[in-house]
């Protein structure tokens, strides 16, 4: 499903991260980074809620708005029952719409928000997404302090909260179109190879997006997938060529940019719902403001499993949502 927008803009963004992200190559693009993973709270879950609260606070102060100016807050995270979002929203006090698409939540939120703004019923919307390495490890994998050997294809969940203000005010970056993806499952069961799980969903969404808008990949200065990692990235390129006959030139994966794989213990790269906005809202937007990129396509990629389904040895379905962003002319 494709949506075209005539009058929707991404006015401002705010990014809060943990220490690993701050020590990575993009550290200077973040608004706030903490030195530990608790951020002054007493649990990983509360810490993740704080990421959301902080990013909304910073976003409001950067855009000189107050909470009553915001009509709706669209937010999501990885935790069961979206607890980070829900507990953060309790203190934020803006009407909330919780959304979940695993690591594709950021682009899903932006598409929903853009549709609301385009319809004219919403003036200002905040789209937030968060992930926390330790709360995700606890929920999906092993206790944080457990050090069992990991495979090379394992990705490292990023810690971060990223908020974006979208409105019809002509400022910042233009949201041009968005594509809601279809769930794809090509039979992968390996939870330690998420890139392989999500690559076909990203490829299908990209193909559908290009088809619906009648354009080819050269239209974009950059096509950015969410968190496929270094091996998933190669699988994606190969699959896209074989299945859809599309060759990629201006392509990168956010999971391969966020950390320095040489010096940081992140295996195949970064993952998590926060991964793609952490890279895009700071580093990529900076390049867009400098006109180095004029048109980009963000493809958030999410694996739609939980631990029960994986323990039952079921295959892992995945989804990808794409959003096209442009420099304002």
């Amino acid at each position: 499903m494709n949506f075209k927008y005539n009058n929707v803009y991404l006015n401002e963004t705010a990014i809060v991260t943990g220490p690993y992200e701050a020590n990575g190559p993009l550290g200077s693009y973040f608004d706030r980074s903490y030195d530990d993973l608790y951020f002054g709270t007493d649990s990983w879950e509360a810490a993740e809620a704080k990421l959301i609260e902080d990013s909304v606070d910073i976003l409001l102060s950067k855009s000189s708005l107050i909470k009553s100016d915001i009509d709706i807050h669209i937010s999501g995270d990885l935790l069961n029952q979206l607890v980070a979002t829900n507990y953060a929203a309790k203190d934020i006090g803006i009407p909330l719409m919780g959304v979940y698409a695993a690591c594709a939540t950021s682009t899903l939120g932006l598409i929903i928000g853009a549709n609301m703004v385009e319809s004219g019923q919403v003036k200002n919307a905040i789209c937030t997404v968060s992930s926390h390495n330790s709360s995700a490890e606890k929920q999906f994998r092993y206790p944080v302090e457990y050090g069992g050997p990991k495979r090379k294809t394992t990705t490292f969940t990023s810690t971060g909260g990223a908020s974006a203000l979208i409105s019809s005010k002509k400022k910042g970056i233009r949201i041009e179109s968005g594509t809601i993806g279809t769930v794809v499952d090509l039979g992968i069961k390996d939870v330690y190879n998420m890139g392989a799980v999500m690559a076909p969903a990203a490829a299908r969404t990209l193909y559908e997006h290009l088809n619906a808008n009648g354009r080819d990949t050269n239209y974009y200065d950059l096509i950015l997938t969410g968190d496929l990692g270094i091996y998933g990235k190669e699988i994606f390129k190969d699959y896209l060529k074989k299945e859809y006959g599309i060759k990629l030139k201006n392509y990168e994966d956010a999971g391969c940019i966020l950390y320095d794989r040489g010096s940081q213990p992140v295996y195949a790269g970064a993952s998590g719902p926060a991964c793609i906005p952490l890279v895009t809202y700071g580093y990529i937007f900076d390049k867009m403001h400098k006109k180095q990129y004029k048109k980009i396509l963000m493809i958030g990629t999410g694996a739609l499993h939980n631990t029960s389904m994986c323990n039952e040895k079921r295959t892992i379905p995945s989804i990808a949502h794409a959003i096209s962003l442009e420099v304002i002319k």
């Binding site: 050997p149 090379k152 294809t153 190969d238 074989k242």
Partner: protein, 146 residues
């Protein structure tokens, strides 16, 4: 593309794990752990003037203590990263699995947190350890008559 073709495509791009290297590291570190354990038995039996059997229990307690302590200090996961199964397979790995789960769930309370989750990882080891002990005990009884 069907699942089979995709699986072959994934395999083409998936790196091979360094099984031999990891096994050698585990073998060496595990061996060093064995030497340390034997050293502890000798020290305890000499210093405390006790039997080797009794000294073995002291050795196990010592290794468990340090496995737990290093987990709490946040060192053990980094050591395992290097030592692989050389530290996971010995009793230190069991202590580490229990202690890391305890740390993880302490915020959720004594009963619903620590009590309910402490054996989250190590529980399987206990269950199947007991099952295999019974199985082999029974086999021994049937084959060798006890």
């Amino acid at each position: 593309m069907n699942e089979k073709k995709y699986s072959a495509l994934v395999k083409k791009h998936t790196p091979k794990e360094d099984v031999f290297k990891n096994a050698m590291i585990a073998f060496l570190i595990g061996g060093v752990m064995g030497i340390m354990g034997q050293g502890l038995i000798d020290i305890y039996s000499y210093m405390c003037d006790i039997s080797t059997k009794e000294a073995s229990s002291y050795m196990i307690i010592t290794l468990i203590f340090f496995g737990c302590l290093f987990t709490c200090l946040g060192w053990f996961d980094k050591l395992v990263n290097f030592a692989k199964c050389g530290l996971i397979i010995p009793i230190t790995g069991f202590a580490h699995a229990v202690q890391s789960a305890t740390l993880e769930y302490k915020r959720e309370g004594m009963i619903t947190g620590i009590g309910a989750n402490m054996f989250k990882l190590a529980g399987s080891v206990i269950v199947f350890g007991v099952v295999s002990a019974y199985t082999f005990g029974l086999l021994r009884l049937l084959v060798m008559g006890g």
